[in-house]
């Protein structure tokens, strides 16, 4: 047996954390002795690496998986899973405060039990860690190596001095938060997704810098936990990639929640005076400072491409855009592929998963599957949620595709009204004068669930005409999609057809 690896220490030591650690990086783990040559070496045990490893092993390939820290990656440990559990609890608090709107009594006292919130998060994270566990990998026949892997040749890498040879490899090292270069920020201390889920008590005042998905989700969460929250975004709207109306609705929702919204605002300096953190903000010609207890940054993510010996393997990479890959996810070394956040523009768990599946087919079975052929939805889990798939109108118009949007406000959807969740819309973009779906944006309490129907339609080549014939259970919020399809069908009723139909009926 090889030497034992360095130990990973969780920030919070309780039964759930120990359970998770036992599954994702057992303290007593000893790396196996490597075989002569692996069919696939996977560097990184996050969503992309796990899918690649399990997928390749299922086909009988000899697979090595190398993980530096914890299996499960950001998604399970410091990303989607912990954030969604907190979002759920924050919704409960929001609904408690909003009880009167539902004809319910407002509780006499709403006290946020933050330790209980975090304990629930850790319990759920531990439960979900079973899926990503080292035991499952070992049972699937994957050799798991904990340690920092580095390429030393086009077909070999080392882990703590042990050399592994591979026929093919996949770089799935993920990404990390991009720290904004604000003078004084590092000295004052700040939170990112890497440490925010280790908090043991709530700050009284929080400034969130960055209005992307992470910043928006967590700003709303902490506000709903009773934290005086300010969010500073250096652009005119939140979620700059999303369409204007979606971002506008989100701004309104934030304001309604009580978040202090600072758009077009840049944090230019952080100061600590007499133990008090001050952040200097500027909005065009308006300057001011806010006093805060904590600062959370959510200003993008950088791919993990350092310390991998990529040069030794002949793999080209950029510190901003990540490992350079072609449409088949192959790097500049034809033996080596990449998947997930390390190489993709859209850094989501599900794109990591989908890209890893492509890699397994292309690397091991000479497949020719293309990344560009994927139809990728995504969702920001604010309240309301903002989900999108396919093209935006702007993208379609840039490509000279005539586009028309069928819009159904959620206030026209019975179930949204019964649930007092009628802020939002379904917008489905089609090629003008056809029913071919180009893309869609949904803003709704459960937009993430609803977008899947549009994604299915796009992947299966189903147009609005067919969707109009799909019976949707009543009452559901997804009926909005059928209503959009119905709106399309009505536009097909030209005056001539309408008069013919009228004559037919009267006859």
């Amino acid at each position: 047996m090889l030497e034992r690896n360095f130990a990973y220490t969780p920030a919070f030591d309780d039964a759930h954390s120990r359970e998770r650690l036992e599954r994702l990086h057992p303290p007593q783990w000893r790396n196996p002795r490597p075989v002569d040559r692996y069919d696939l070496a996977v560097i990184g045990g996050g969503p992309a690496g796990l899918v690649a490893a399990h997928g390749a092993a299922a086909f009988g390939a000899r697979v090595a998986l190398i993980e530096r820290d914890l299996l499960g990656g950001d998604c399970l440990n410091i990303g989607c899973v912990p954030s969604k559990t907190l979002i759920r609890t924050s919704r409960v608090y929001a609904e408690m405060r909003d009880a009167a709107r539902y004809g319910a009594h407002l509780p006499a006292e709403i006290r946020v039990d933050f330790p209980a919130v975090m304990q629930r998060m850790r319990a759920i994270r531990a439960r979900l860690s079973r899926v990503d566990s080292v035991d499952r990998l070992a049972a699937a026949g994957v050799d798991v190596f904990f340690g920092g892997g580095r390429f030393v040749a086009p077909d070999a890498l080392t882990i703590d001095g042990t050399r592994l040879h591979f026929r093919k490899a996949v770089i799935a090292t993920g990404a990390r938060p991009d720290t904004p270069s604000i003078p004084g920020l590092v000295e004052a201390g700040f939170l990112t997704n890497e440490n925010v889920f280790d908090l043991t008590e709530l700050p009284r005042r929080l400034l969130v810098i960055g209005g992307g998905p992470l910043g928006c989700e967590l700003a709303q969460v902490f506000c709903r936990f009773g934290v005086h929250t300010t969010i500073a975004q250096d652009m005119p709207l939140f979620l700059p990639k999303e369409e204007r109306d979606a971002a506008q609705i989100l701004s309104d929702a934030f304001a309604r929640d009580g978040i202090e919204v600072r758009l077009n605002t840049t944090a230019i300096r952080v100061r600590v005076e007499n133990g008090q953190k001050w952040v200097d903000l500027v909005n065009d010609d308006y300057h001011d400072s806010v006093a805060v207890d904590a600062i959370l940054t959510g200003t993008g993510r950088l791919p993990n491409v350092e310390d991998l010996g990529l040069d030794s393997a002949g793999v080209e990479a950029d510190s901003i855009t990540g490992v350079r890959v072609d449409d088949f996810l192959r790097t500049s070394n034809p033996r080596i592929y990449a998947a997930g956040d390390a190489c993709l523009e859209h850094k989501f768990t599900h794109t990591a998963d989908a890209s890893a599946r492509i890699v397994v087919r292309n690397a091991l079975f000479k497949g020719r599957q293309r990344l560009s052929a994927l139809t990728v939805p995504w969702c920001t889990y604010t309240d309301p949620e903002i989900a999108h798939v396919g093209l935006y109108v702007r993208e379609a118009r840039d490509r000279n595709i005539p586009v028309k949007t069928f819009t159904v406000p959620m206030h026209d959807v019975d179930r949204a009204i019964t649930d007092s969740e009628d802020a939002g819309f379904v917008k489905i973009h089609v090629r003008e004068r056809t029913d071919r779906i180009l893309g869609a944006t949904i803003v709704a309490r459960h937009a993430g669930e609803m977008i899947n129907e549009i994604t299915l339609a796009m992947v299966a080549g189903i147009g609005l005409r067919t969707l109009s014939n799909v019976i949707h259970a009543y009452p559901t919020q997804a009926e909005a999609i059928r209503k959009a399809a119905d709106a399309y069908s009505r536009t097909r009723l030209t005056p001539t057809i309408q008069s013919l139909l009228a004559r037919w009926v009267s006859w």
Partner: protein, 442 residues
């Protein structure tokens, strides 16, 4: 399409069978004009932004005044010489104003700061150099130039001044390093960061900027702007989306869009006039749905646009559970919507949809007479915030832009005067052609 079947040189409708409507409109139009008399500074010709005490000048209000004078002359409300004199005062002042772009100047590169001191004409409120408000000012100046065509010294000077002001504007500069025109500029920080994408009131800005013989926009600028449009089917209407109604009205005060189409509208088999009609119908539909349950909304009570709101004057209501706003660009269907409506926004849609506008205006005036004082529309009223006397909350201010758009749109409805003048303006024709408009009267 109905709009294309009309004679483009005739007003939208002249229905003598409804004298009550004629009288009704005459009262409103004349009252709106009175704003420009009351808000006028006889020293420099500037026009106050609002009726409030110590209101600064709004350069767009000056533009509306310059177009209002010809209407007043035609209707016998003002002597021609008086109109010329008032116009000359403003135009001379603007010509001679400080264009250094310093924080206390009046303008820069031929553009003007949004708000100016009524007496000195220098920038106030650290306001931005406003591209679209400058365009509305220039549109007013060009309207005057087209109307006052006599060879008297005054009218000759007026035409030369209007021309000079237009030619001085460096529209190309207003793009900065972007593909579209930037919304504003400040000496303290340069171009503003505010996004200004999607359809809005700016067509007249792009038309004037494209036609400039001296500082025209880049060729791709208008197309780059229209590339941000969203053509939507909402409530059963296909239309070019814009939430607040003013976006569908301001450019139409000057330009007759009936039957002329740019590339986008050709693709959509529509025109901007018809689009504004549909936008008005969408507003009416929204009011009928009334998703937020505000008082009074309905098929004859609508009108969502930029204007005052309750928290401007009643800050105590800001703490209520229901959210009220101050000045805001209210729009449909995504809001902001706090129950505040605008009578002037409804009336300014008169040329597009006279049947629903007149019907709504009559009912709104009857139910909420407090929305008018001296027959001038207040900048917003809110029936959901009624006082103990049952009267709706009403803004205590009247805004020059509201009065101006009402005045000009009623005139366009009644006689088509402004449209007719601007149809013959070579700059407007050139700008329309340059931005790809074809067909109809063009």
């Amino acid at each position: 399409m109905a709009s294309r079947k009309r004679n483009p040189r005739s007003p939208v409708v002249t229905d003598a069978s409804h004298p009550s409507d004629e009288a009704f409109l005459d009262i409103l139009q004349r009252a709106a004009f009175r704003f420009f008399l009351d808000a006028f500074n006889p020293v420099n010709g500037l026009i106050a932004d609002t009726s409030r005490e110590n209101s600064p000048c709004s350069i767009a209000a000056v533009g509306f005044a310059l177009a209002a004078y010809p209407v007043a002359v035609e209707r016998g409300w003002m002597a021609r010489a008086d109109a010329v004199a008032r116009s000359l005062l403003a135009l001379r002042f603007l010509r001679d104003s400080d264009q250094s772009g310093s924080p206390n100047a009046t303008g820069y590169k031929g553009f003007y700061y949004h708000f100016l001191d009524m007496q000195t004409g220098v920038r106030v409120w650290r306001s931005e150099l406003s591209m679209v408000d400058t365009a509305l000012l220039i549109a007013g100046a060009l309207t005057a130039r087209m109307y006052f065509t006599q060879t008297t010294a005054g009218e000759t000077e007026l035409r030369e001044l209007a021309d000079a002001l237009y030619l001085r504007v460096d529209w190309r500069w207003s793009q900065g390093d972007a593909t579209t025109i930037r919304q504003g500029w400040k000496p303290e920080c340069g171009f503003l960061h505010y996004g200004w994408e999607g359809y809005n009131e700016a067509i007249v800005l792009y038309v004037l900027a494209t036609a400039s013989p001296t500082h025209p926009l880049g060729d791709e600028c208008y197309e780059a702007w229209t590339a941000t449009y969203q053509w939507e089917n909402l409530y059963g209407f296909d239309f070019l989306y814009g939430g607040p109604l003013f976006m569908h009205q301001y450019s139409h005060a000057w330009i007759d869009f009936r039957g002329i189409q740019d590339r986008f509208m050709r693709e959509k088999r529509c025109d901007y006039f018809e689009n504004s009609r549909r936008a008005s119908l969408v507003q009416r539909e929204y009011a009928q749905r009334n998703p937020r349950g505000f008082a009074a909304y309905g098929g004859n009570c609508w009108g969502f646009t930029a204007g005052d709101g309750p928290t401007d004057e009643r800050p105590e209501v800001a703490n209520e559970a229901r959210r009220w706003f101050g000045y805001a660009a209210r729009g449909v269907p995504y809001g902001p919507d706090d129950g505040t409506l605008s009578g002037s926004a409804v009336m300014a849609s008169l040329p597009f949809a006279p049947e629903i506008v007149l019907s709504a205006a009559h009912e709104m005036h009857q139910r909420f007479p407090e929305m008018l004082t001296a027959n001038q529309y207040a900048s917003g009223f809110n029936p959901s915030l009624a006082g103990v006397d049952g009267r709706a909350w009403v803004s205590n201010g009247k805004v020059g832009l509201d009065q101006g758009i009402v005045l000009l749109m009623i005139e366009n409805y009644r006689t088509g005067l402004i449209w007719s003048l601007m149809r013959n303006c070579s700059y407007v024709r050139s700008g329309l052609r340059g931005t790809g408009f074809r067909g109809g009267w063009l």
